[in-house]
Amino acid sequence: MTVWPAAWACREGLSAIMTTSSAATQNQPPLTLGHLLICTDKQATLHLPNVGSGLVVVMYDRINKVAGAAHILLPDSNLDANTPGNHAASADKTPAPAKFANLAIPTLIQQFEAGGGQKTYTSVRLAGGAQLFNFGGGGGNPLNIGSRNAIAARANFTRLGYPVEKADIGGNKARTLKLVMQSGQLSVTLLGGREYFI
């Protein structure tokens, strides 16, 4: 597998396998919506900022010190084709690797394992899915993308043999996540709110 320097590889639609040099660690780009990264640098701290309605999934192998993360936008790439005028902007584009949960999670697992991650030692955690208020919309909340993403992520991970251990979903504040590679500690900071660990 290609080993990409930290740079912006994860923005180019390629999974960034971070090198172990300290320079690469310092230059680690933030994980942006729709993208994924794999990290094998045990000295690194991964910054996963600006999580709104999207969902961040984090895989971490506590023995081999390998992590994989994806910032997912939507649960399923099979959007309802009957919605008028749908998908005009992206009809001829390859979707970003983590845009949809059903495509992101198999790719993430494959690259995580290629980077040295082993199922036996791996935990999976989910965070994100904040939600706006739905004023005057009647029953249900069409804005609950976050909980739909979480359901899709759990189903895909379970299907592929990686049950989700912990999840921190919902609320109405954006989140910033931080993963310490050495310890596997995953902190969640709510913008304007407290920090806690999952």
């Binding site: 919506l33 729709g34 600006n50 999580v51 709104g52 309605s53 999207g54 936008l73 939507l74 959007l79 309802d80 919605t83 005028g85 749908n86 998908h87 005009a88 902007a89 992206s90 584009k93 970003a96 845009k99 904040a130 939600q131 706006l132 208020f133 739905n134 004023f135 005057g136 919309g137 009647g138 249900g140 069409p142 804005l143 993308i145 109405n172 504040k173 954006a174 709510l190 913008l191 304007g192 709110g193």
Partner: protein, 296 residues
């Protein structure tokens, strides 16, 4: 919670006075753009007098966003190729960048974050305008750019009262604006409208600044086009917040105003929201290109 003192007009006026002045060249051009009898030659002539504005406009015109096959070398050429309306929206993008590209600590926004949210929401609004059949999509883009202008005035007070505002939102399940007004006496949309009017910005900008969170509260006499513009900016704003593009401490403490959208003939259900999110997400490369041309 109820013991917070309400803000006085003097306190707010002091905040407004503390804002840096608008760049005069850009203001002159924007006023010319609002005159019905202005033409491309007048516009090119005035812009040419300001080297900074000229260079910024040429940089933007040549950005990948417009995907032109050849380099534009002069303002006259830019107006001829991109058109008067597009140049107008670029002038307002430069104006908005000047006004908004600063830290807004009271809302937890670092340098550039308010501007990022403004630009992303404007690009989304323009895309939605195309999607919903609006003829002048550039007007919707322009109207969206300064929708959160009022945050510049209110940020100091929001920062001081943040824990109270947050608690009010959570306890009463109301949006952040409602809580601002209940606790401080004003919300950022009211102040944005006031500032837009004081600065002689276009009427649509002032209307959007006031009602972009609550299109259902638009005055009855609002024209159909104005209502649609405000609704499209409301949607662009909602989607930019959902994708946490330049979002601060007020986070997702806003709402989708379905009643307001219904008055403009727009209905959003779950599948429609997913489709729109998918489409808007794919505009990121275009946004990056515009932002880098503006030095973000």
């Amino acid at each position: 919670m109820s013991t917070l003192p309400k803000l006085t007009l003097e306190q707010l006026a002091a905040q407004v006075q503390g804002l840096p002045p608008l760049p005069q060249a850009v203001v002159q051009v924007s006023r010319l753009l609002e005159q019905e009898d202005s033409n491309a030659d007048d516009l090119a002539q005035i812009i040419r007098l300001d080297p900074d504005l000229t260079s910024q406009l040429l940089k933007l015109s040549n950005s990948a966003y417009y995907g032109l096959s050849r380099q534009i070398g002069s303002i006259k050429e830019a107006v001829a190729i991109l058109g008067f309306k597009t140049i107008k929206s670029l002038v307002y993008a430069i104006l908005s960048h000047t006004v908004l590209n600063r830290p807004v600590q009271g809302y937890g926004l670092g340098q550039g974050a308010l501007w990022q949210n403004a630009l992303v929401g404007a690009v989304y609004s323009r895309h939605l305008a195309q999607r919903y059949g609006v003829k002048d999509v550039e007007a919707v883009f322009t109207a969206a750019l300064l929708r959160d202008l009022g945050k510049l005035v209110l940020e100091k007070f929001v920062g001081e009262a943040y824990s109270h505002i947050d608690a009010f939102v959570q306890a009463n399940r109301v949006d952040f604006c409602t809580a601002e007004e209940a606790l401080l006496g004003f919300n950022h949309t009211q102040l944005g409208q006031r500032l837009a009017l004081d600065w002689n910005l276009p009427t649509a900008m002032a209307l959007v600044a006031r009602y972009h969170h609550t299109p259902s509260q638009l005055p009855e006499e609002t024209t159909t086009l104005e209502r649609k513009t405000v609704c499209l900016v409301h949607m662009g704003d909602v989607f930019s917040i959902m994708m946490a593009q330049g979002v601060g401490n007020d986070g997702l403490m806003y709402g989708l105003d379905n009643d307001g959208l219904a008055l403009a003939g727009i209905k959003l259900d779950g599948p429609a929201i997913e489709h729109l999110l998918s489409e808007l997400f794919d505009l990121q490369d275009q946004i990056d290109s515009l932002a880098s041309s503006l030095g973000l």
